[in-house]
């Protein structure tokens, strides 16, 4: 084996151990709820807890809503920037990066100030209003990932020519986006959607301060009162996130193939 290849393997194994050892330790710990033997009781406890089911369902619903709103916002915006306003690209990229620069704690305090019960838009006055605000907060939080995923998808197709071809065949802008552009970037869109879901499942700060019982908040509550169940929850959380990532890989196989030029 060549020297360079050996070092590549050493670095790869060290990197893999750095990620896998804590994960294995967490998993192993979650199985030790009974002193005398290994069991999945911690998982059974978590999955049978009605509060888990409620929090998890709520997170999924908010996640789905955030994906829909995010796509309705990002797909037309990225399409328009690519087609008609490429000079706006640096500005849009900067805006979409803001949620990575501004900590969630700052964002949520801003929301509370802007949308409290004595403000012009008192979203926090009702449960539904708070749900809407949480959804919009997650849309903002996922914006860097969603925008980049969609923009990367748009890069793989000839947006301008496909738009013009559909346009001269009689299609209007909405039809072009829905029937020509969207189906050809579906894998990129799904990548953005699963990334958004992964963020929503793991988010704690915003939901906690808006007093919403999401999965992250439930995890924190369980962590404060139990020993083994938080480890089981961490493993479940990992499985969900990895499942989402795996789905992106799986769906990439079904992407419409770019036509060949010869």
């Amino acid at each position: 084996m060549k020297q360079g290849k050996l070092w590549s393997w050493v670095i790869f194994i060290l990197g893999a151990l750095y990620f896998l050892v804590p994960l294995y330790a967490t998993f192993d710990f979650s199985l030790h709820i009974r002193r005398d033997h290994l069991s999945f009781d911690a998982y059974a406890n978590v999955l049978n807890d009605p509060r888990f089911q409620a929090a998890f369902s709520y997170s999924l619903i908010i996640g789905a809503a955030a994906i829909v709103v995010g796509l309705l916002l990002v797909v037309p915006a990225a399409y328009y920037v690519r087609l008609r306003a490429p000079h706006l690209r640096p500005i849009i990229e900067f805006i979409t990066l803001l949620p990575l620069i501004i900590p969630a704690i700052i964002l949520v305090f801003g929301y509370i100030r802007m949308y409290n019960t004595s403000s012009l838009i008192p979203l926090l006055g009702t449960n539904f209003g708070s749900d809407v605000l949480l959804t919009l907060a997650y849309v903002a939080l996922a914006l860097p990932y969603m925008y980049r995923a969609v923009d990367t998808g748009l890069r793989t197709i000839d947006v301008q020519t496909l738009t013009e071809a559909a346009n001269i065949l009689g299609a209007n802008q909405a039809t072009i986006i829905a029937r020509v552009i969207f189906p050809n970037i579906i894998v990129a869109v799904l990548s953005g959607a699963f990334l958004t879901l992964a963020i929503v499942i793991g988010e704690f700060t915003i939901a906690s301060l808006l007093n919403r019982q999401v999965f992250g908040v439930y995890m924190q509550n369980v962590g404060a009162n139990r020993a083994y169940e938080p480890s089981a929850l961490a493993v479940i959380s990992f499985v969900i996130t990895w499942g989402a990532m795996g789905m992106i890989q799986l769906l990439a196989r079904f992407a419409p193939k770019t036509a060949r030029l010869d």
Partner: protein, 355 residues
């Protein structure tokens, strides 16, 4: 004369203050196949895109069947277009691609399927309806793109360099097929190309463009044999130049290679003793046969290019060098490099071009 189908009036377009189309006036007849020919940046694609509605003219009118369409969106113009990059929708199969315009127009499914089948038959791709674009060759994709453009029965067809991404053999067969289909349907067609051979071979008329202006508009025979400007003469086909001196402007005689000959096309504006450039096509020059050619010059073979059916020779005449084309003769090999040769030119084939 019948009313023109498409009239372009004083069309002007600039990009970032740089004029690209400078007051172009053109008129096309119904059912005509017209090529816009010119080098890169001459404005041919911009004119086509203005007809399609993808670019808005700064000023001027585009009139189709008597109606100004300049204010209409592309999807309201009822025009079909084929793009250089095919632009088939990758997520749709051949039938869905061809039927796209019909679906948008709200045609019921049974009629749509029948029309798609009819179009696929027209382009010789029956049975390919379930295939996706990535499963087709470039030539097949472009035929599908043609069928897609024609399916909604547009009143005009625009072709934006549809053959330039294809290899040479496919290019020739597809251009013949395009012309055949165009004749069969009788659809007015505007074809953009930078390839003069393509334009000459399939067009009813050709518009030669240079730097945003029309240099010449005419039938291929006229464009090639009677170019009105030096640009047209040099851009369309090969051109030889012989340096000569005006002997007697009134009698249209010049001195070239020691001989005095009459040039019927000599402009009356020239004066005696003035230098003049005589131009002619390579096929107007022959290896000497003085009986039929009144300009006879001696030189040496500088280059021999065997092109198959045609042999192109470059002859060094001392002050001038000239290319000539001669048909391949299976019994006589071409003269070797350095061989002395005599060439003949008919003075009636000589052009004296202004700029």
């Amino acid at each position: 004369m019948a009313e023109e189908f498409l009239r372009i009036d004083k069309l002007v377009k600039s990009f970032g203050g740089i004029p690209v189309v400078k007051g172009v006036d053109l008129g096309f007849n119904k059912g005509e196949f017209v090529s816009l020919l010119g080098p890169s940046g001459c404005g041919k694609t911009t004119i086509l895109r203005m007809i399609a509605g993808f670019e808005r003219p700064d000023s001027g009118r585009i009139v189709v069947e008597g109606n100004d369409i300049a204010h209409l969106q592309p999807n309201q113009r009822k025009i079909g277009m084929v793009f250089q990059a095919y632009a088939l929708f990758p997520n749709m199969n051949v039938a869905e691609n061809v039927g796209f315009g019909l679906k948008i127009a709200g045609m019921p499914r049974p009629q749509r399927e029948a029309r798609v089948e009819e179009m696929l038959k027209l382009i010789g791709l029956s049975g390919y309806d379930k295939r996706f674009p990535f499963e087709l060759s470039g030539g097949q994709q472009q035929r599908v793109a043609l069928a897609r453009a024609l399916a909604p029965s547009p009143r005009m067809l625009l072709l934006d360099e549809p053959l330039s991404a294809l290899d040479a053999k496919i290019r020739v067969s597809l251009r013949e097929q395009i012309r055949e289909i165009q004749r069969e349907l009788g659809i007015t067609t505007v074809f953009v190309t930078h390839d003069q051979e393509e334009a000459l071979s399939i067009s009813d008329r050709i518009v030669v463009l240079n730097a945003g202006s029309v240099e010449q508009f005419g039938q291929p025979f006229e464009i090639y044999n009677r170019p009105q400007t030096k640009f047209v003469a040099t851009f369309v086909g090969q051109l030889n130049t012989l340096n000569a001196t005006v002997a007697n402007a009134g009698q249209k005689t010049v001195t070239v290679g020691g001989a005095t000959v009459t040039i019927p096309s000599l402009p009356a504006t020239l004066r005696d003793g003035e230098a003049v450039a005589l131009t002619m096509r390579p096929e107007a020059v022959s290896l000497a046969d003085g009986a039929t050619r009144d300009i006879v010059l001696d030189g040496k073979v500088a280059e021999v290019h065997f092109l198959g059916s045609v042999i192109r020779l470059k002859v060094d005449l001392g002050d001038n060098a000239i290319s000539l084309d001669t048909f391949n003769d299976q019994r006589t090999p071409p003269p070797p490099h350095g061989a002395p040769v005599r060439i003949g030119i008919a003075s009636s084939d000589v052009l004296v071009l202004g700029n």
